[in-house]
Subunit: 449 residues, 3 copies
């Protein structure tokens, strides 16, 4: 695990300098690097494409940006940090007094040495973000400002990685790739997702696992618009009523499985305890799985209710889709002072924390993948386990006693209504024990899925 | 509010001396006075009329009553307090020794200076109520007793005041008008209902509001018998099975709305904390509204379960009707020592307490009137609020942040299943904020009722 | 009650020496003795009969068994205690050194003076159970071992006693009769069941009560196989799917009632507090009745969740049957150190404890027998109780006030959905008061069952 933690941290550090936004080459460069770890299918969606209620915006790219003083010295320089420029700034090249420039400067007075992260995606604007103490040190006078950016028709870029399972039904892991030099939000999420994908690829999972790397909000909305048929039962209209219109975007629906479960990964590397934010449904299987895994692991954690703000669970859990998608993070969205500042840097995330988040994801997948409803084929009275060799093998050891209890529980509750997770919860037995018992009973022909 | 409190207290004092009962001129005089504040439709229902399982009794009126000692001095005098006569006493004119008279005297030994309130509506009897200390001071000897009352065919009297709303569906406020000189039970309820009616008349409410001023039990039963079609889905029989017979009383069913919600008002002016007694259903909308309003207001209060005794919620919540009618009081029915005694006089009720009860009623109406289920017309992903001006207007102020959150919550939960009160409860946002957000979204065409 | 307790204890002592097993003359002798108290119908089911997933085994009988030392002295003797022989031991007659014999000896090192109880029903084996201190005292050397038992085709024996009630629907009380010299597990259960049957026979109960005396597991499975049609809606197959095959065993289904409720009685006489183990359904009427009776009685007790191990509730609550059958015991299955040892002897059970268990059973039957759903025939408003004499008779005494409240509660909740137990629970009134009120209302024609 420490090896994996270190690998993930190295990926965070490698991605950190790139200037990501909701479109542009920063996203492409990020996906290129992630693609070195897991093969990605990269999608490019043209500006102007209608996606659900939204329109894919123009693509933003930036080459340079600075504020220079009268001597030509760069007092704020994009080269030092991608955070220094207001995201989606329109190009500017001008000289103006500090008094006029102030209207375009963003600082954090309460954290004078930190640089804030700010964007203006849908309202044309330009600006710089800098430390309050930098601003305080600037003498009055004329300053040259330069933002060498372009806003032009182009594409929105997102990527997918799919691990085909035994069934086409899907579990999605979604992480946002639109934040520039911010480590916990969300390079740690990208790193955990990528390590998880590599781990799952080493086995033949039951479900098909789909990893979605997309810009926040507009990226998830674009993915949903292009994959509406993959989402169980939903047929979205564009701002109209359900079922009034069919989605008409991009590649259209593909044959195959439905999205059954999912997790949004974000803030996956800070030192705080784990937080699971439940899906809108609150009792979706993913919610039960995460609650069980976190409780059983005895890790410090909290389980919180769904709220319609945060990360892209907002989109997956919009009422038309209402997917069983929760969100796993450590300290949640906006709940730590470093959030959306230059203090959310690679030092803020640790290999151990990312390894821990990854471990929870793997445990959750292991439960989800084995969690099925069985039907007891011998439901009248207990079947005679002894003559099937399911009793003989059991001595007085506590683990075999547990295995025997687990068989009785699985037999008793396998009426087609209760899944193995329910059996584990009601019996108080570990899920692994229950799943092993179900395997033995299935092998003996006593239950069927 | 203090002005309104003083007005209500003045009404209590004006009504206090009248000798009300379940029939008779005391009720008419009371309704005449209330009619000076709000226009009333007065109904007179003849004695002998069958109303559900009951029969309208003979009308009782009383002109004078006293016990006089051997010198002719009135030692107990109806003119001093209407409580001195057992309600519905048959006429009597006789002279008898104290020993014989004692069988007709009612006192409260545990409160020797208080006069109890007693009635005998359905068993012919006569009697006097007096203070224990008055009784103790009476020397043995002969006493003249006189009750100049009449029990004869006449009418039962009740009244209604209706404020027509945007829809014909109704909210009823019901208060009993049968108690003689008792202030909290129920002149305070009458005063609060009347002030509430005046306040609602100044606006055009969503619902139609009906105020019912009727004698307890037999009055409510009479109203229900005559308004059975107004009660959602119910078609009462007279003591028989549901739907076996049609109601055949009085004016019969009228066209129009159904009773959707209601409150019984009683004990509305004592110094105790507020008590909301839930409807039989327990989860009726009125129950949710009152629980929310009381909790949100942070007033001291208690919410109690339905019980089939108390005031006329007993009738509205009988299983055949099972209306969403709760009961609002301060100290509840029979739970204060002054209950049904001469100590329940105008000094026991305060302008401030009545104003507070009135305020809760108004807050409840304000929530009820705006509490609707909406449907998100753009339910797939979040709609883009910014291009509709629903985001731009919002700065960083905490109230606008709340307004924005409220819009996200309304959008997320408006699936036709959840009303705005549910949104407020789940989000923890004030109902006003949620309702305002729904208004803005409705204005933008994003949701429909 | 002490008289009954003493009678039950005398029955325990009388049954104690017999060597019961899942088949054989020990069971027959036991049923002969029980039959002196209540008339029994004894069933003999041939070895080899298929019963659900099981087969009735060969019948086991034993005449003598001992370990004798080189001098011929019996150091372990079946005549001293039926526990000394491993249940279902195959016959053996041999001489062997202690070192070889040890593999067939069972002791309890943690309780060196106690003899354990062990069986090997379905794996042919032989063995002796003895105190650790007896074993420790045995010198090395040759020992003669003799088990004069037979395992041969014969029968499985069980018995029933039925008290016909006003309706054919049944309540079953089931107790196991397969344990040899163990008092709490389960002679106390047999004694309580028998005393209960005698008590119920003295009245004409509402339900038909069936007492089942059968060997554990295989006996209950045999009874279920032969009474499948008596079990509501179930049609068991033999190890196959529900409804794929019909039961084909023995006397087949009989006309008559269905099993509606039931209790498994075991461990009914130890000094611990009462334990009610709920049925698999958890909200079956029997569960509600026992919870209510135990809570109302203020006896020390615990109510525990269903688990698929313990006594024959395992079979009655298998998912195909899923009967409303709970289990009443004092200290539960396997939760006391004396469990399945020679320390579970008649001294371990007391007349008072058995009388207490019996009292709870009788209270439960009294509630169950009167617990019905009524329908208010006058559901619109309250019916006028006074003119029916249901109000007049009531003075101010607290018991009559409770009776009046109970009538209002029964009227209010009798909508065909709520039974009297629900009324008692919601009102907080004693079940007896509620049932009496229902009786009065039924007598007045105001409610119907």
């Amino acid at each position: 695990m420490t090896g994996l933690g270190a690998q993930m941290h190295a990926l965070v550090e490698r991605l950190y300098p790139l200037c990501r936004s909701i479109t542009g080459d920063g996203v492409r460069d990020t996906l290129d690097i992630v693609g070195e770890y897991v093969p990605l299918t990269v999608h490019e969606v043209p500006s102007g494409t209608q996606v659900l209620d939204w329109t894919v915006p123009q693509e933003w790219n930036i080459r340079d940006a600075y504020i220079a003083d009268a001597t030509g010295k760069r007092v704020v320089d994009f080269a030092a940090s991608s955070l220094h420029v207001l995201g989606y700034s329109v190009p500017v090249s001008a000289t103006m007094p500090l008094s006029e420039l102030r209207g375009h400067l963003h600082t954090l007075p309460e954290h004078p040495s930190w640089v804030p992260y700010r964007t203006s995606y849908y309202t044309p604007d330009w600006g710089f973000c800098l430390a309050q103490e930098t601003l305080d040190a600037l003498p009055d006078g004329e300053y040259e400002v330069c933002i060498d950016s372009t806003l032009a028709d182009g594409h929105l870029t997102y990527a997918e990685h799919v691990i085909h399972g035994q069934v086409p039904d899907e579990v999605i892991f979604s992480c946002h790739v639109c934040h520039p030099s911010l480590a916990n939000d969300n390079l740690a999420g990208i790193a955990v997702a990528t390590s998880l994908a590599r781990a799952l690829a080493e086995q033949k999972p039951y479900y098909t696992y789909r990893f979605i790397y997309a810009p926040g909000t507009i990226g998830a909305i674009t993915w949903l618009a292009r994959n509406a048929q993959r989402v169980n039962g939903a047929s979205p209209a564009h701002g109209g009523r359900p079922a009034r219109a069919k989605p008409s975007v991009g590649e259209g629906p593909r044959a195959g499985g439905k999205v059954k479960h999912g997790l949004v990964l974000a803030c996956a590397g800070d030192p705080g305890r784990l937080t699971y934010k439940q899906s809108r449904r609150g009792d979706a299987e993913i919610d039960r799985v995460l609650r069980h895994v976190l409780a059983a692991s005895e890790r410090p954690h909290q389980v919180v209710e769904f709220t319609p703000y945060g990360y892209d669970e907002r989109q997956y859990c919009s009422p038309g889709f209402d997917l069983g998608v929760g969100s796993l993070s450590r300290t949640p969205y906006a709940a730590y002072p470093e959030y959306h500042t230059s203090a959310d840097n690679p030092d803020f995330v640790s290999p151990a924390a990312m390894a821990d988040t990854l471990a929870v994801c793997r445990e959750a997948c292991a439960v989800l993948d084995r969690n099925r409803r069985y039907r007891n084929l011998s439901p009248y009275g207990e079947p005679q386990l002894g003559r099937r060799g399911l009793y003989d093998a059991l001595g007085g050891r506590s683990d075999t006693k547990q295995a025997q209890l687990a068989m009785l529980w699985v037999l008793n509750l396998s009426d087609g209504e209760h899944d193995l997770l329910h059996v584990a919860e009601r019996s108080g037995l570990p899920f692994d024990t229950v799943a092993a018992a179900a395997g033995a009973l299935h092998g003996a022909g006593l239950i069927e899925a």
